[in-house]
């Protein structure tokens, strides 16, 4: 049985923890709002880009003129997985969810006899994946000191990926990130970047007007394909930030509530024990007086 003093100390320490988790929750809530705004502001661009891409890809077709980024190398022997995770923990299962999704994918590819390369964006994913697949990880990119995710970061990642592609480093590239559904639900998602899959479902009939291209459709596509990859990566990064903050918020909310419950329980046993001690002392005094 812990003494009264021990109990008092424990209550104090849990209270201190609760204060910290509560502060973290509030910080995450503020950051979440900003991240959500950023993700929403970026949406028009990526939507238009997707529409234009599918439009122009239709015009150019699968001919030999289409850029390599669109058609791929024609093989699928080497796969590059770009795994985007958060820089920090304390956000529940957010990072491990993405890593698990990627791991399942890696296992399947390896079982099929393909070779796999992994590019880690974010520290946490690297920490998790290197335990199992240290030899497959070719590079990691950290955004530790980046305050606000901007297009420049996405460009950095995209440039790495495309540079590797130009050197013939891989045939198929898949992007792993977490799609932000709501504050309590983030869905780990895999999205194929190269060769580009055009969202045929989005292309409605009204947009298929006959365009004039300036310069030629092929040249525009050549220019557009890398840009589209950057945009997709940018979107993934933004969704990730929003998801991370959402996950962190709910994780810290849980922690705060748990700490509250623990404090209640501890105070209850503290009070009980204090009462028991008083009763005991009283009995001692009374029985002492009776003995006289």
């Amino acid at each position: 049985m812990p003494s009264l003093k021990d109990l008092k100390n424990r209550i104090a320490s849990v209270k201190a923890t609760q204060k910290i988790t509560k502060a973290m929750q509030m910080v995450a809530a503020a950051k979440l709002r900003r991240a959500q705004e950023a993700a929403e502001a970026a949406r028009p661009y990526s939507q238009r880009m997707a529409a234009v891409m599918s439009n122009i890809a239709e015009a150019v077709g699968d001919g030999d003129d289409a850029p390599k980024l669109m058609t791929g190398t024609g093989k699928d022997d080497t796969h590059l997985l770009v795994v985007c995770t958060a820089e920090r923990g304390m956000c529940g299962g957010f990072n491990s969810q993405i890593a698990r999704h990627a791991r399942v994918h890696v296992r399947k590819l390896l079982a099929d006899g393909k070779s796999v390369k992994i590019l880690c964006v974010g520290k946490k994913g690297y920490d998790i994946l290197r335990r199992e697949y240290a030899s497959l990880i070719i590079e990691r990119i950290d955004f530790r000191d980046v305050k606000q995710m901007s297009f420049a970061q996405a460009e950095l990642v995209a440039e790495k990926v495309m540079g590797l592609f130009d050197q013939g480093g891989f045939d198929v590239c898949t992007l792993f990130y977490s799609e932000f559904k709501s504050v309590i639900s983030q869905v780990p998602t895999a999205q194929q970047l190269i060769p580009a899959t055009t969202g045929a479902a989005d292309a409605d009939a009204s947009t298929s007007a006959i365009y004039d291209y300036e310069p030629s459709a092929e040249e525009i596509l050549e220019d557009l394909a890398p840009r589209s990859i950057k945009v997709q990566i940018f979107r993934a990064l933004l969704e990730n930030v929003a998801g991370e903050m959402g996950a962190k918020m709910s994780a810290m909310d849980n922690a705060t509530r748990n700490a509250g419950e623990m404090i209640d329980k501890l105070s209850m046993s503290y009070n009980r024990q204090r009462q028991a001690q008083i009763t005991k002392e009283l009995i001692e005094i009374i029985s002492g007086a009776e003995a006289l």
């Binding site: 970026a42 028009p44 238009r48 234009v52 901007s150 004039d212 525009i220």
Partner: protein, 149 residues
């Protein structure tokens, strides 16, 4: 709003046909407005887009975009590359990065020029070098174009 609402309506009716113009950068939607005229720095030269333009897609080089809104106000934006999707009923400009001319950061522009110069110096193949040089030239022109503003 400046004038009375009735005046405002009259003015729009008198003006030439307007169409919807959107200027989007990856980070946000900069402008979505009803406009009568847009001047774009196209890859093959400047082009003016008005309502009922034939469907066109063009790449954009770094330069100044001039927008004349339906109210007759004229706005200028600096864009650093991108492309435009023009339809009879509207025009969308997807810019790599864009700022209003009034908000442009001289230091940022100087930095970009500096980077472009370094790119030219670092280019290894002829094709790369030519591309970098072109970009540098475009930036220099742009710098000259907005300096007096």
């Amino acid at each position: 709003m400046r004038g009375a609402p009735e005046q405002h309506c009259d003015k729009v009716n008198v003006m030439a046909d307007s169409f919807n113009f959107e200027l989007v950068s990856p980070e946000r939607l900069l402008l979505s407005a009803s406009v009568t005229e847009v001047v774009l720095p196209g890859m093959d030269g400047e082009m003016t887009v008005m309502a009922h333009h034939a469907p066109t897609m063009t790449t954009i080089k770094p330069g100044v975009v001039t927008v004349v809104t339906a109210e007759g106000k004229s706005d200028r934006f600096v864009v650093f590359g991108g492309f435009a999707d023009i339809l009879p009923e509207g025009c969308t400009l997807l810019a790599e990065s864009a700022v209003a001319v009034s908000d442009i950061d001289r230091d940022d522009l100087a930095q970009r020029l500096q980077d472009a110069r370094e790119d030219v110096a670092d280019a290894t193949t002829d094709a790369d070098k030519q591309k970098a040089q072109e970009y540098l030239d475009q930036l220099t022109t742009l710098n000259g174009a907005i300096l007096p503003a």
